[in-house]
């Protein structure tokens, strides 16, 4: 069997093994590849730095553990930046899985050094998805009776300043599914909207940013790496970019190799056992 034929019939387990090794290598030996910053991330960053101390930002956690690998670092870096700028944060979730992630992210970002209820709050899960969002936009206290810990909102000081969407100076939605409903309900209310999305939806949010419905967005793990570069605090995102570079180049190499071997094997029927 020629080399091309062997490559054409390459066992996929070998490909998986190489992929795993390429993922482990940069963690053990960081390459420090440069991370250029995209305009979308720059816009998201600029929208945050224009805020004044004690301004309230809102962040939605609408994803479950399965998508956390790509979305959690984005939330983490934005919350770290908000903490640095002495802002206040309101976390909310319109899907069931985000409730615990919000608590974890706030703690990991360092918000434990602030006072819960005064500087930040986790409002928990709001049922109804888009209907819930519409109600949240209009009147938060009419939509949610208590926060994630069961404390009535009337007893939470930060909520005295957070009545509806216009109380927020910055809103970042994080979702692993459709972004349309967030843009439908949150945009056009005078609040800068930032999208935290998986790379899969990059082209969709480009359109929203082009039309001015959102101010900026973080494009998956790369977006969080870019934001970390901007706030000069490298973390999970930056490490992941070395891994992303190696694995994506490997994927491109496989694409090229697959096309070449497929072309030559098809051209030579004897390679497939034909006459």
């Amino acid at each position: 069997m020629s080399l091309l034929e062997k490559l054409d019939q390459l066992d996929r387990r070998i490909i998986f093994l190489i992929l795993l090794l390429l993922c482990f290598f940069p963690v053990l030996m960081p390459l420090g590849l440069p991370v250029p910053v995209s305009p979308a991330t720059t816009s998201a960053y600029n929208a945050m730095v224009t805020l004044k101390p004690n301004d309230i930002i809102c962040m939605t956690f609408d994803y479950a553990g399965g998508s956390a690998a790509e979305l959690y670092p984005q939330n983490l870096v934005i919350l770290k930046h908000a903490l640095k700028l002495n802002l206040r944060a309101v976390a909310v979730s319109f899907t069931v899985g985000g409730l615990e992630l919000a608590d974890q992210c706030l703690a990991e970002a360092g918000w434990g050094s602030k006072t819960y209820g005064v500087d930040y709050v986790n409002l928990g899960f709001v049922a109804g998805t888009e209907t819930g969002m519409a109600a949240f936009v209009k009147d938060i206290q009419a939509t949610i009776s208590a926060d994630a810990r069961g404390t009535p909102l009337s007893q939470i000081p930060i909520m005295n300043d957070a009545k509806n969407i216009n109380s927020f100076k910055y809103l970042a939605f994080t979702t692993s599914t459709s972004q349309d409903m967030y843009v439908r309900q949150f945009s056009g209310k005078g609040v800068p909207i930032i999208g935290c999305i998986q790379s899969l939806y990059f082209s969709v949010l480009q359109v929203y940013m082009g039309s001015g419905q959102i101010v900026g967005f973080l494009n998956g793990l790369r977006g969080s790496a870019e934001y970390e570069v901007m706030i000069k605090e490298l973390g999970i995102g930056a490490i992941s970019m070395d891994q992303a570079s190696l694995t994506h180049w490997f994927a491109v190499l496989l694409l090229i190799m697959g096309n070449i071997t497929s072309y030559f094997v098809r051209k030579n029927p004897r390679a497939k056992g034909g006459k």
Binding site: D11, R13, F16, L17, L19, L20, C23, F24, V27, L28, A64, G65, G66, A68, A69, E70, Y72, V96, G97, L99, Q104, E108, G124, F125, A127, T129, E130, T131, A134, S145, A146, G150, D180, M181, V183, R184, Q185, S187, G188, Q198, S199, L200, Y201, F202, S203, V207, G210, S211, G212, Q213, G220, L221, I236, I239, S240, Q243, A244, T247, H248, A251
Partner: protein
């Protein structure tokens, strides 16, 4: 996140078992998969129940009779599980929920998904050659793609190249999404590899699973089951 030895070993084992699908389908992978689905289902059930109790049951107990309405609607919705001849009871609440949801979506859709796009396509974002060129391409793609879905007239004659161009632009767009999806899915493994490296003792279950794979490879000679 502080990982104790127990957490590291349990999580490491489940992850290693899940990764074992890359070698071949096995009982360890099935166990990890079923456990994940079961725990996720249980957690969702807990969250929804907790939400229902705190937002509707507790206010009702405290005297807020308005909370009775969503509870009644929710209970009647379970009529979907009745016999086919009795399922009609669930139609009204379903219609109510669908109607409200559609109205809410439509309210935002007219401005958010239609008018804003028309406005942005009508106004170039800049007048330098690069931006103008992109704007023209975007406009061309939009018009030709919309024409592709115009089925009132048959796509022939002068309309044929327009629809073909629209189909080409849509293929490029879908290809871009598919490519992004592939690259996006690879990122899920990054977090786990980082976790395996930084968490003490997490590598132990991974090493055990790797050794089991090597033993199986030696035993079967690397042959895949057909």
């Amino acid at each position: 996140m502080v990982d104790t030895l127990q957490t590291a070993l349990i999580m490491g084992t489940l992850c290693a078992l899940a990764w074992s699908i890359m070698y071949k389908l096995n009982i360890g992978y099935r166990f990890a998969e079923d456990l994940t689905v079961g725990v996720m289902g249980g957690y969702i059930l807990y969250s929804i129940s907790d939400n229902t109790v705190s937002n509707f049951i507790n206010p009702l107990i405290k005297g807020d009779m308005l909370s009775l309405a969503p509870i009644i609607i929710g209970v009647i919705l379970w009529g979907q599980l009745l016999k086919p001849s009795q399922r009609w009871v669930a139609r009204a609440p379903l219609a109510f929920i669908t109607g409200v949801g559609s109205a809410v979506a439509l309210k935002g859709a007219v401005y958010g998904n239609i008018l804003t796009y028309i406005q942005s396509m009508a106004t170039p974002p800049g007048y330098d050659p690069y931006t103008l060129f992109n704007f023209i391409i975007a406009g061309l793609a939009t018009i030709t793609s919309v024409v592709y879905f115009f089925f009132t007239v048959e796509h022939k004659g002068a309309l044929l190249p327009v629809t073909k161009l629209g189909r080409f632009f849509m293929m490029v767009a879908f290809g871009s999404v598919a490519g992004s999806s592939v690259l996006s899915n690879i990122t899920f493994i990054f977090n786990r590899t980082q976790w395996f490296v930084v968490t003490p003792w997490a590598w132990v279950p991974l090493a055990i699973v790797a050794m089991a794979i090597v033993v199986d490879l030696v035993r079967t000679g690397g042959r895949k089951k057909s």
